[in-house]
Amino acid sequence: MTDSVPLPAPVVANVWQLRVAVGDAVDVGTVVAVLESMKMEIPVEAHVAGTVVDLPAPEGTIVQEGDPVAVIQL
């Protein structure tokens, strides 16, 4: 398997929307998810280009800072 990298949550938050599905291609800057924290809608942008291979935190779950929101295969 080629390298896959986790996309970490920038802050403790509720996963409000997932904007991609497993198997989708993303570029650097593609909004993968929108988190909800401190009454802000916080977009999480892909930091690498690749294919989404996992979305470990479904909508409505809580992620801690640093938890993976998505796993992207390079």
Binding site: P10, V11, S37, M38, K39, M40, P43
Partner: protein, 517 residues
Amino acid sequence: MIVLECENNLMFGATMTIAPNHHALGQHHAVSHPRRTVLERREAAAQRIEPRGRRTMTAEERAVALVDRGTFTWINRQYAAKAGVVTGWGLVDGRPVVVTSQDAAIASGAIGTALADAVQSAQRFALDHGYPIVYLNDSGGARIHDGIKALHGCGGIFNLNVKATRRIPQISVILGPCAGAAAYSPALTDWTIMVRELGQMFLTGPDIVKAATGEDATAEEIGGSGMHAGTSGVAHLAVDDEEAALAAARHLLSFVPSHAGAALPGLPSIDPDPVAEARLSTVVPEKASIVFDMHDVLNGVLDRGPRLELMPGYAPSIVTMLARLDGRPVGVVANQPKARGGILDAKSSVKAARFINFCGRFGVPVLTFVDVPGFLPGTVEESRGVITHGATLLRAYAEADGVAKLTVIVRKAYGGAYIAMGSPSIGADRSWAWPASEVAVMGPGGAVGLLHRRALADADDPAALRDELAAKYREEVASPYVAADAGIVDDVILPEETRARLVGALRVMSPIVSTAS
């Protein structure tokens, strides 16, 4: 007449004539022979030792390259060079700056008794005359052979670093692996610039880490620029090579006075970027939960032209940037909604506090742009000591007296974060709010839920009632006009009026600016 062949026609011309009644022939030798010796010795000392590894410049070449061409002058030339450091002074943009440059070619730049003494001598010169000092660091730390004498010397450097804190700007540039004492001195200076993959800072390098704890890690992992400019916050800028590091140090110096109390280096005013200025009134989304890039606001208000964002890779939910307004250097502190919603937390508080503290010490006016959802609560932040660290931000504003502090509330300013972000209550001289801003103990959602719990529970349509109550709260409690009525915010202003208000205030409050050379 006696005509002497001069031994060095470079200096004297081809011949030198001396009157016959000039009594001592020996005196001719006293003039000419030492001159030859000086030049021979200088040439011998100038033998270039090819820099090792990724380095491209010798210690002397770095010091010379830092300052304006032809202005470098050695301090304690031979003494310092033999000890492994180049010390001297020169001009940067025409202003005097002292420089020390550790020489990795001599015992890896290890700090022995003589090296420490030479550095302290340069530090005292800078302190006595009120010149900034730039430390070009490339040293393995204390020289083991010198034992306690080396430690005593390192401590002496630290002591003068601290003494200089309130008097002269100090910049550290990390141009090689810097261990122990060579890493601690930068931590006592104002700003630290690292070169990627060349500079490292650590208590000890990989070998001793492995021996001490068993941890296997590379020098880059322990103390590279990624660690320190991104994760630890020990360094404040990361650049690609030595030239860029020296250019960054010069750029930083262009915003600061030579010493505390000196005039700020002024330049002609430059209007903001016209596109950014025209967009200013539409940059901030109406809906308080939608993020935007605070740089779009800053670009529409500040002078176009040179800026220097410090710690851009660390705690990015707050922006700390040296910039100019009306040609005057200013320190900008701004929440960045685009990163983590613009929250304040332990790291962003410490980042901002450090910057404000610097501005306060050197008379650089502090401009604060506020759009903050609050301090991030929860177990993680409490365990990081967010109360203590948040308090350092409050303290920084309150302590920075003697410098103009001007605050613009761009959108939200809630609770403790409102107070901490340069509110008048902790020392802002003037503050203004944009018309759509909200200033309150908490946001409408939370406040309505707390204040009207029973009414909401009993309502037929709780969502509609919640919206209605939230709108009422925005109008009657959180409105900037309430803040202006209370005399806490000076005025409610249009975004496009911001620059004129700030410029007007600075001209009155911060009049001492030297004109550009």
